[in-house]
């Protein structure tokens, strides 16, 4: 009984929305072209699992590959900037500026620059992840305890040891924070790129469905897109926990 109560206290908002949605469709007698009921959306999902799964898989792949490349590029450039005061001073403000502009506005430009294909989609996600990673890892490297670098040198450590024992522990947890912050935006960027370029994946499916007013399909795509976003976010959280256990 108490578990039912906890469940209800946690999920009353979500249940409420679903009930309102179904009630509104039933009572107002709206046409399915305007607003499909939750039940008809679920039945479309159950009837065409293959289409949904292949599109979601493709979007997932774009998001994960883009995040990986963006992360690697961000950490490499942050390390390069850390080795030189001049480079750091030149690049950090630019990184801050680029990490605070609305990245989705750049999608049309990148689509034209790089062409309409899957590599462009991956590049867009990578760029969305790159700038925050650069800023966060850079901040982590700046906050090394004063003189720790000198201490390592005095104690006779090799550059490789310094990198492994001093630089990486400072950089990696911050990189994971950047990853957690950019992961939801990465899925959004992937879907929007697919939508604008009309290639394949969830974004394309969405555009195609909305174009022919197949509202069950459009709502179904929304649900699958949400699940994809939640899975990517969950993976990132799990990765962050493992990395923190190892590096902190």
């Amino acid at each position: 009984m108490s578990s039912v109560k906890t469940f209800f206290s946690r999920y009353w908002g979500i249940i409420g929305i679903l009930v309102l949605w179904q009630a509104w469709v039933s009572i107002s007698g709206l046409n399915a072209i305007v607003l499909p009921s939750p039940l008809s959306v679920v039945s479309d999902l159950a009837a065409n699992p293959g289409i949904y799964a292949s599109s979601a898989g493709k979007t997932f792949l774009v998001a994960v590959l883009g995040l990986t490349f963006g992360l690697l590029a961000g950490i490499v450039l942050a390390l390069a900037a850390w080795t030189s005061r001049l480079l750091n001073g030149l690049l950090t403000p630019l990184g801050l500026i680029f990490s605070s502009i609305p990245v989705v506005a750049l999608i049309p430009i990148l689509a034209r620059l790089l062409g309409y294909d899957i590599r462009t989609e991956i590049a867009i996600v990578a760029i969305a992840a790159f700038f925050p990673t650069f800023v966060f890892v850079g901040a982590g490297l700046q906050s090394l305890p004063a003189g720790s670098d000198d201490l390592f040198k005095v104690l006779g450590s090799s550059p490789w040891q310094r990198f492994l024992r001093l630089v990486m522990p400072a950089a990696v947890p911050n990189m994971m924070v950047a990853l957690r912050l950019t992961a939801p935006e990465a899925v959004l960027a992937a879907i929007l790129a697919e939508l604008l370029m009309g290639t394949s994946g969830l974004g394309y499916m969405f555009r195609e469905a909305a174009g022919r007013f197949a509202m069950e399909r459009a709502f179904g795509t929304s649900i699958i897109a949400t699940i994809t976003a939640v899975i990517v976010f969950g993976l990132v959280m799990a990765a962050e926990r493992r990395v923190d256990a190892h590096w902190k």
């Binding site: 999920y11 899925v187 929007l192």
Partner: protein
Amino acid sequence: MILRSEAMHRLVLGAVGVGLFLFIWQLVGTYRLAGMTWPPLSDVLIFISDPARQTLFVRAMGASFTSVAIGYVLGIFCGVAVAMLGQVLPVARPGLDRLVAVIHAVPLVALAPIFMVLANRDLTPPAISALGVFYMIYVATTSGLKAATHSHRDVFSALGANAATRFFRLELPAALPALVSGMKLAIPVAFIGAIVGEWFGASRGLGLLMVSAMQNFQIPLLWSAVLIVTTASLALFGLMSLVERLIYGRFR
């Protein structure tokens, strides 16, 4: 004095970095190093300032910036209101948190069909914008409302303050720094929401201009629209950073 020269040093280097970036943009455009789709910066600026296109840009800017403003203000208002509701009615709190988290997990695009059904197409941009801002502000306000410590609360109760006084004199001022940080981070979100909303068939706006320029190979127009959006977003972001610094100086 040392500190000031350090800050000066950073400022100068940063300015040089931005200048270099603009210079490289110009260079790549002039010599067509990235192909025909990368125009020089000067071409884009001339394109924007051409009086013949003034009406086009002013109309689009008017539509988009109105959406951003409505979305931003509405999002802040709802975010603060719902966070306060959670504070006043602790029973509702866990359910509210889950609901807001689910709303946030839904990618903004996925919400478009709902708005297309519920409202007229020109209302989609401010609505999506408001939703993004709402999440940011809700999270910032709830974490800010936790900032008042137990001992402060005890002092207020011991001195006989009622719940309303405690809220306005203690919890709200304590939440202000977090709220302002949230308002700063919500600025790009408000722009993203408005642009994405316009991609779903609004009748005018900078987002619409971007998509049609992209599809019709109007390269200077495309870059101009993107430049206007990013510059506006950055300027407001900078302004909010200043406000944030003021508030942190006063309330923390």
